[in-house]
Symmetry: C2
Subunit: 328 residues, 2 copies
């Protein structure tokens, strides 16, 4: 599999490191907007002992489907920001897997642009997938698989607890780390805090399960620190915000059928995901891992590579593809 790597942030670098040691994969070009990285050797950037002979480009080089089997796009979270790049890649006949949170299920947020992208992908015989751990796996794909054994479903409740300590500064900022409760409340109003993706996961679940939704209720509650805590950008004092509790409820016919309780804060216990499905049968699944964030996202993106490469053209979701699994 010949790879074009676009974006050399934490996930992009982790993907490159993984592909470098994985048989059957070859990175043919790498792109980043950071001028400090441009022109340097990829091996240097990702911390290898020796250069690999690939200089970081500032723009996507003129490659086609014969040069590249798949592009990993790991830049920003916003659908509209990656859209021009996706159009460029589709026109070049290059399949794409992106970590862009809003590309996981943009159908509700950007219906018209989603349809246009799907059409362009189909015209050029290209498959595009947005995925990751959340959105992409723990609150949606795994939950859907578990519904596969149900004769009926009354409701689904997912709780995700993530320790934000040691995570990227950008994530810590996103969850309000270091804010006062007052400035957090203001930031909520101005939509400057909160997590990208959970409402899309919820919309995806509802659509796949064919639940006609009355609407979603969303609530962001600050988690306050009880003791001084170390954050990426200095110390969080007692009483300041150390993270967020993001609550979303999806209603159908006046009944709460999907609820998400996402708690991301400094000092949370080990990351765990609990999926409760009330139905026939009722199920409860708990997933624990010391690293169910970037390490797992890197694994998932790479493992989806061969599946997306062989898939039908179009803008795909996780239920359009065969069961995800580890690829040796």
């Amino acid at each position: 599999m010949k790879v074009l790597q676009i974006g050399l942030g934490p996930i992009g670098m982790a993907i490159s490191r993984l592909l470098m040691r994985k048989p059957g994969w070859e990175i043919v070009a790498a792109v980043d907007t950071d001028v400090v990285k441009q022109g340097r050797d990829l091996g240097d950037i990702i911390g290898l002992d020796s250069p690999v002979g690939i200089d970081i480009c500032s723009e996507i080089p003129p490659l086609g489907s014969s040069d590249v089997d798949i592009a990993f796009l790991t830049t920003v979270s916003t659908f509209t920001e990656v859209l021009p790049t996706l159009h460029t890649l589709a026109r070049a006949g290059i399949h794409v897997i992106a970590s862009t949170e809003e590309l996981f299920y943009p159908h509700h947020r950007y219906p018209q642009q989603t349809q246009e992208l799907d059409t362009i992908a189909k015209q050029h015989g290209v498959s595009i997938l947005g995925t990751g751990i959340n959105p992409g796996f723990v609150m949606d794909t795994l939950a859907l698989l578990l519904t596969g054994v149900c004769q009926d479903i009354a409701r689904i409740a997912v709780t995700r607890v993530v320790n934000a300590a040691g995570r990227r500064p950008s994530l810590q900022k996103q969850i309000g780390v270091g804010m006062s409760p007052e400035s957090f409340a203001q930031a909520v109003e101005q939509q400057r805090v909160g997590l990208v993706g959970p409402t899309d996961s919820l919309a995806f679940l509802a659509d796949v399960l064919k639940w006609e939704m009355d609407g979603f209720k969303e609530r962001l509650v600050p988690v306050l620190s009880h003791t001084p805590l170390q954050a990426a950008h200095g110390q969080v004092e007692s009483g300041q915000v150390c993270g967020v509790r993001h609550l979303i409820k999806g209603m159908s016919n006046g009944k709460e059928v999907i609820s998400f309780d996402l708690r991301v804060y400094l000092g949370a216990e080990q990351t765990r995901d609990t999926i409760y499905i009330e139905g026939t049968p009722t199920l409860e699944s708990t997933l624990k891992s010391p690293d169910l964030e970037d390490v797992a996202a890197t694994g998932l993106l790479v493992n989806m590579g061969p599946l997306v490469h062989q898939a039908r053209p179009g803008l795909l979701t996780m239920i359009d593809l065969p069961l995800p699994h580890y690829q040796r």
Copy 2:
């Protein structure tokens, strides 16, 4: 979806009951080898208040792909026993989902007949899937999905605990309920006790993960009752066998890479499945349910219906199909 139901044991009856109340499904014919059921109305057999106008046939009626969208085959556990029926259905152009344990992954046990069946299915444009909860879901499909986030895997360990109380008499017999420890040991030697499927689940995992296996080690240990217990066929005395612990280890390059610990006995605590994946990242998943056996198997078989109906022709496995999920 027009359905041909073959076999009206507990699973076949549960499927029929589910389809009768599920929009978009219609049973067009039902078959059973039991002369007591033949000629009677399906509604009567499955406990409905009124007849449904379908008489139970003794043999598969002369139907084709225009009459039937899918057949549910819920008869016996053995691949060779269902093979003639599968050939008949394939030649008639009818897709099949079977609960036959050995059809989940017959590739190792019956390589030649598996290939022949695949060829015949492809010739007639028919898709065939064997699935269920175990084998089919908890020790294989779910484990594979979880590997989807791994960059590396060192080993997989699955523990399944099932309370056999209240289960089918045939299952209780299979796990040695009521035997003395001596007759259990003899039955193990004569391969008269033990569970159908776990070695196939293990072979499936190994093949999908491309682990070259040195071989499998299998061990059957009786679980002895400490107090008198009620079984399907009378009482189990203290000191008698109340179930089995089925241990399987799969070795690759001299290392244990897959281990299954399957404990099925009367009086076990709530059914639970634990999947431990040692890798990057390491994961532990626990699934609990008051009924992760026949109720869930019925749900899974029916939910796979539309996926198998739209799938490519051939003898399929769970990774050849899109992600299983509930179908409203």
